[in-house]
Amino acid sequence: MLTALIVMAVLALVLGATLGFASVKFKVEGDPLVDKIDAILPQTQCGQCGFPGCKPYATAIAKGEAEINQCPPGGDEGIRKLADLLGREYKPLNSEHGVEKPKSVALIDENVCIGCTLCLQACPVDAIIGAAKQMHTVVVPLCTGCELCVAPCPVDCISMEVVPENVETWKWKYPVFRLQPTDSRKAA
């Protein structure tokens, strides 16, 4: 009886110590789930989800404080990926947060730009270059199309242009066999 108790107590101590050591030694920095969600989000940092950036939205989703259908740039596919990752039910995009649009980039009308730097301060990904009283321009490959620069412009010289498909970004279409209409009267 006593031996059994001692054995159990020693076991408990050893295992407890091992677990305690492991929790210190193999401590995971940050929240891996947040990073996984953040990797799915499109990183436009547009704030349409109601959070100040993609990372805060990812954190809110991980905590269960936000729905997965609040990201218009991520679109339907993004929602499906989030649903798969989190084991939640798929929901269509919540239209309160916006609608899915084709990929666009901001374009500054350089003749109208007065060099006020307001758009530079608004751009979350440093995709606009310029200086005070100098013309600004958008570095197109870096622009995520978040539209945050459009509103602050005092002279309304920024417009969103849909990125046209070119030979390099063109995608093969899903093979669909087209049904040919036949004249049924002739056959009859």
Partner: protein, 559 residues
């Protein structure tokens, strides 16, 4: 010249009717200059070259009109002398039918070549030769149009064993390499010898399928005449796709290049015969890649090979072979891997090896797709040892991750699986679809990762700026305080209250300083005035005094 060389086999493959005899009856023809050339800038794998000429510029034959964009790119040249009439998007020979930037040249009919200094490639470093080839626009002419200069380098830790020159040309109807080997064997052999000099392989094997005996004989004679050490013509059995780089390497050397590695990791490299010829032309004739041999076959009255300059509209090339009246479809490439041309206005590019004209019976449109019956015939013929039916299911279900696990990207799109499929499933179309979707996702992912990095950098910068500003402010206050203390200890108007409160002292000191400054400033324009001016000033002072008095009277209650 051993005929006893041991050859190996590759898995799968099919034997479609070669249909090569009709277009090899006549020698390579020359085309008259068309009324305009459309030279697309993006013609090879990699970046789109930058245009170097503007509208209205006069160009000479062989003049560079597009500079390579980075190292993974190749330059583009003017096919003849003439005038640039436009630099604008034009429809390209691409399955999408989309337009890409092109330089439109109106020939002047003189065909004046561009003057070039001879390039002494033997006396410069191999790296310099590679740069020269990039600027001469030499790309793989077998169809993949990969810039050749990137392939002409042995792996650092693997010396070259075998350089393979690919004259297999396995796809039906196509005979451009065949005719080039028959007519320009010496040039090809010299080009191969140059590659040998650059890469130092132990042997150079020229692989030719056994349905091209004349080409093989011509090449053998040229190899004997050139007497290059270690170079040998090897005839390989005819089986599609023996002309695939990996397949030909397998047949000639028995080495199977594993997934995710390069052939140079095994001391092997493979070039097309047309590429060898282009390298010889660029390095020893000083002529950049401005033309190539194109087979025109199928439903035409005179199937034949032509030497076509890059940029010639395809309609002109077809017209030379006289397409029959019932032609419905125009295809670029062979019947196995080619695609339907969007328009005959599209120009011939470096990748254009064959132009086919077809009728409903010759190249029928795809038949209705039936369900997969899991017969496994596609796996039996796959030369890349893949499981095409699995790839098909995953691509069909948009399950791209799984498709990649089954090595979708090892698929060479040869079309053997679609060729044998009893359900007539366009399998390759599904693979192409899945591949382009995966590439699009990767592009998006790279863009998102970049955006995340820049966003984080921006946040960090904002934070740093805030801290710096706060630190600066603190330093300024501290400095001011120190100054005030110094002023106090210096004994300048020590006030009882100020002594207690350094802040007040600071203000006091600042005020004193301002006062001193104000006193120090004297009007400088009152020296050396004339009497009249002094009288005027005195009058003004009087008026001022009067005004002050009036103001005082107004303010004071009237008595």
């Amino acid at each position: 010249m051993s005929t006893l060389r041991k050859l190996f086999g590759f898995h799968g493959g099919v034997k479609p009717d070669p249909n090569k005899d009709l277009s090899t009856r006549e020698p390579i023809g020359q085309l008259a200059l068309p009324d305009h050339f459309v030279v697309p800038l993006h013609q090879s794998v990699g970046g789109t070259p930058r245009p170097l000429v503007a509208v209205g510029a006069r160009v000479l034959k062989g003049q560079r009109i597009g500079a390579a964009d980075g190292n993974v790119s190749a330059a583009v040249h003017a096919p003849t002398s003439g005038r640039v009439v436009a630099v604008e998007p034009r429809v390209m020979a691409h399955p999408s039918g989309l337009a890409g930037t092109a330089v439109v040249i109106e020939p002047d009919g003189l065909d004046t070549p561009c003057e070039r200094d001879p390039f002494l490639w033997r006396s410069v470093e191999p790296a310099e030769v590679r740069d020269y080839l990039r600027d001469a626009g030499v790309v793989g002419l077998g169809g993949a149009v990969f810039p050749s200069h990137l392939k002409l380098r042995a792996a650092r830790d693997h010396p070259m064993q075998t350089l393979v020159i690919n004259g297999a040309e396995c796809e039906p109807f196509i005979t451009c390499d065949d005719m080039l080997m028959r007519e320009h064997a010496a040039g090809i052999v010299r080009g191969a010898a140059i590659m040998g000099e650059l890469m130092q392989p132990r042997e150079i094997l020229i692989g030719i399928e056994d349905n091209k005996p004349q080409a093989a004989a011509a090449m053998r004679a040229a190899v004997q005449a050139a007497a290059v050490r270690g170079m040998e013509v090897v005839v390989v059995p005819t089986r599609y796709p023996a002309g695939g780089a990996k397949q030909l390497i397998r047949v000639l050397t028995g080495v199977e290049i594993p997934h995710g590695t390069r052939s140079t990791d095994y001391g092997l490299q493979c070039f097309n015969t047309g590429t060898a010829y282009a390298i010889w032309q660029a390095l020893e004739q000083g002529m950049p890649l401005i033309s190539r041999v194109v087979t025109v076959a199928g439903n035409v009255a005179r199937p034949r090979n032509f030497e076509v300059r890059i940029g010639t509209p395809m309609g002109t090339v077809y017209a030379a072979a006289e397409p029959l009246a019932d032609t419905q479809r125009y295809i670029m490439g062979g019947p196995m891997m080619g695609f339907k041309l969007p328009t005959l206005a599209a120009p011939v590019q470096k990748a254009t090896n064959c132009l086919l004209a077809g009728t409903a019976s010759m190249f029928p449109p795809p038949a209705p797709e039936m369900p997969c019956i899991r017969c496994g015939q596609c796996a039996e013929v796959c030369p890349a040892d893949l499981q095409p039916f699995e790839l098909y299911w995953f691509a069909r279900a948009h399950n791209y991750g799984k498709a990649q696990e089954y090595f979708l990207f090892d698929c060479i799109e040869c079309g053997c699986c679609s060729y044998v499929c009893p359900s007539r499933i366009p399998l390759v179309d599904y693979y192409r679809y899945a591949k382009s979707e995966i590439w699009a996702r990767e592009r998006d992912k790279t863009a998102a990762d970049g955006a995340r990095l820049r966003y984080e950098a921006r946040l960090a910068r904002a934070e740093r700026d805030k801290l710096e500003k706060a630190a600066k402010l603190a330093a300024k206050t501290a400095a001011g305080r120190q100054k005030a203390e110094q002023a106090l200890s210096g004994g300048a108007t020590p006030d009882a209250a100020a002594a207690e409160d350094p802040k007040k002292a600071l203000i006091e000191a600042a005020m004193a300083k301002a006062r001193a400054q104000r006193e120090a400033v004297q009007p400088k324009n009152t020296d050396g005035l004339t009497v009249a001016q002094q009288a005027e000033i005195a009058k003004a002072e009087q008026r001022r005094e009067l005004a002050r008095q009036m103001a005082e009277n107004k303010e004071a209650p009237p008595e």
